[in-house]
């Protein structure tokens, strides 16, 4: 059963309190972020759970979850490389970086490695054009990417994963 831990329930209440009485639907986008943080992706059970927390119809949650690009509607790897491919990054060689990551991990954009560790995704402008090429990994940006930096990031993830397992 999908269920937030106590601290997250508290956080949801805090978020709802930011809005005027009866406007708890405004909490939907932040609460979906909390859900994705907790469960990794948004299954229909998770979305139904969020609907019940905010007293919304499930459809109100589905239509929002499918609109915004940051919500994962299927499982993703433990580390997601979201590489920007829009113009300013392209001018600084993002195409080569995407190709390099793909070769190195043996996957195409949109795919996840068989071990479930890495997902490669191409995304549109992340507002880091001056530090291109770049990607988002979890909460943070990795900028001024080179092949060497990509190698180091992949190693870093593998090391981290092996200590977690």
């Amino acid at each position: 059963m999908v269920q937030f831990p106590e601290n997250k329930i508290k956080k949801v209440q805090e978020i709802i309190a930011r809005y005027p009485e009866g406007k708890q639907k405004s909490a939907l986008i932040p609460v979906l972020h909390l859900a994705q943080e907790e469960f990794g992706w948004l299954s229909s059970e998770t979305m139904d759970y969020v609907a019940s927390l905010l007293k919304l119809e499930p459809i109100e949650v589905y239509e929002v979850a499918t609109f915004y690009s940051m919500y994962n509607l299927k499982p993703v790897g433990r580390y997601m490389f979201e590489v920007c491919q829009t113009g300013p990054c392209m001018l600084r060689g993002s195409d080569n970086i995407i190709e390099y990551i793909g070769q190195k991990l043996g996957i195409k954009p949109g795919e996840t490695t068989a071990d479930g560790l890495f997902t490669l995704k191409t995304v549109e402008c992340l507002g880091a054009c001056g530090y291109a090429p770049m990607m988002q990994m979890g909460k943070f940006y990795r900028e001024h990417l080179t092949k060497e930096k990509v190698d180091a990031i992949i190693d870093e993830c593998r090391t981290k994963a092996s200590t977690l397992n």
Binding site: S26, F67, C125
Partner: protein, 452 residues
């Protein structure tokens, strides 16, 4: 050296923290505004300063504030638009990340002016770590009495909350942002009613960009009259420019809008020229939506005059031979870059970001991407170029929100100024896979328009 009003202290060590920010003169504008000015006086001051919205549209901020409806007993809201997503633009991020208290300070003064007791910062979801930085700054401000109940004994209450988006360029459009803040899809609303009358939760709302709100701080501190003196004409004060692409020193620069485009690109104080001795081919001076200009029209207007980094000069010549200041996202192309390929990435961007409400935008952006893809990969026909032109014409002006225009303009300008590069792709389908068209004649001096 340009005068700096926003980023002057951005490099002071520890400026992110309240103590250092306060020591450096922070929150003085709140003291001045709440203790010595009325809300209407602040609005008047902002009006007088000539401040124009820094998000891209350049609408006079004071005028926008004066439109806010004030029915008795109805709450009013200020929402800060931190959904910075226009390709080429990363100035708001810089400001929020390095000097977050400046935004908080500006928000308190602006909230007081507008009567907003509950103010929201709507920030793009990807800037996740900046949410922590802002919430920390808000908490510090509150702990020191700048937020909460009866601030400085003025009787004014204010809370600021940070709301994260979840990945949608369209939420930078103010009515889409409001929808998103209400927990819905980011579908822009039909105007009127304007947010100033009916905004978030049907209450009167002002939505302002981060840099706009930050600029309120120096306006109050030095006064509108002093602020006006910086800059030129209707381009008053300073502007943050995010410079990127093929330049030696990409980054965020605060300029006073009196410097020339040429100086901005080549001076060591700013972009520091083009790397590897390459030549300048083209530039998009105000974020991806504004027209791209070839070097010869970028550095000089069609009349042969020097082009400057301000609202009027960048748009000199209209869309025929000029561009726009837009959001200040300054994208530089060296001679090796392919304008067709770059335009393709922008078309893909706008297709991806179209909310899908209006057919011309939903369908048109997809068609433009497909056609551009064909041309870029050597499968285009000569008639495709005219078809592209035709599609962009039919999107522009035919949609609820400006995303349609924003998608149409880059394609239009690329064809207008680089048509021969598109034709070269069509005529040389194999060669265009191996090399780019290059600089061609794009930096050659243009014959001056003969007066009629």
């Amino acid at each position: 050296m340009s005068k700096k009003l926003l980023l002057e202290k951005a490099h002071v060590e520890g400026i992110r923290t309240y103590d250092v920010y306060r020591r450096e003169g922070g929150y003085r504008s709140v003291e001045k505004a709440l203790k010595t000015m009325s809300p209407d006086q602040i609005t008047e001051e902002v009006k007088k300063s000539g401040l124009r919205g820094r998000g891209g549209a350049g609408f006079p901020t004071g005028l926008k504030w004066s439109f806010l409806a004030k029915p008795a007993g109805v709450p009013r809201y200020l929402v800060c638009n931190s959904d910075e997503s226009e390709p080429g633009t990363f100035k708001d991020r810089y400001l929020m990340e390095f000097i977050p208290h400046l935004l908080v300070e500006g928000l308190i003064v602006s909230s007081f002016a507008l009567g907003s007791n509950r103010t929201f910062i709507y920030i793009r979801g990807e800037y996740a770590w900046i949410v922590d930085i802002l919430e920390q700054a808000i908490e510090e401000a509150k702990a020191n009495g700048w937020l909460g109940k009866n601030i400085l004994g003025s009787g004014f209450d204010c809370e600021i909350y940070v709301q994260r988006g979840a990945g949608a360029y369209i939420c930078g459009e103010e009515t889409a942002l409001i929808e998103s803040l209400e927990g819905k899809r980011g579908n822009p609303r039909i105007k009127p009613p304007f947010p100033a009358v009916k905004g978030v939760w049907d209450s009167p709302t002002v939505v302002n960009n981060v840099e706009t709100i930050a600029a309120v701080v120096p306006i109050i501190n030095i006064g509108a009259e002093e602020y006006l003196k910086i800059g030129v004409g209707k381009s008053t004060g300073t502007k943050l420019i995010s410079a990127c692409g093929n330049i030696n020193k990409p980054g965020v620069y605060e300029i006073d809008m009196t410097i020339s485009v040429e100086e901005f690109i080549y001076s060591d104080e700013y972009c520091g020229g083009i790397p590897n001795g390459k030549k300048l081919k083209a530039c998009i001076p105000g974020g991806s939506s504004v027209p791209i200009l070839p070097t010869n029209l970028l550095l000089k207007t069609a009349k042969g005059e020097t082009r400057y980094m301000n609202y009027e000069s960048l748009s000199d010549g209209g869309f025929a031979t000029g561009s726009m200041m837009g959001s200040g996202g300054f994208i530089v192309f060296d001679e090796d870059q392919c304008v067709v390929r770059h335009t393709l990435t922008l078309a893909r961007f706008y297709r991806h970001e179209s909310c899908g409400q209006c057919s011309p935008c939903r369908e048109g952006t997809g068609w433009m991407e497909k056609i551009l893809k064909n041309i870029e990969y050597g499968k285009g026909k000569m008639s495709d170029i005219d078809l592209l032109w035709d599609i962009q014409r039919k999107i522009e002006g035919n949609t609820i929100c400006p995303l349609g225009d924003a998608a149409a303009w880059p394609v239009a300008a690329a064809i207008r100024h680089f048509r021969d590069e598109f034709e070269w792709h069509v005529n040389n389908p194999d060669e265009c896979q191996k090399r780019n068209y290059g600089l061609a004649h794009y930096a050659d001096p243009r014959p001056l328009a003969v007066p009629a």
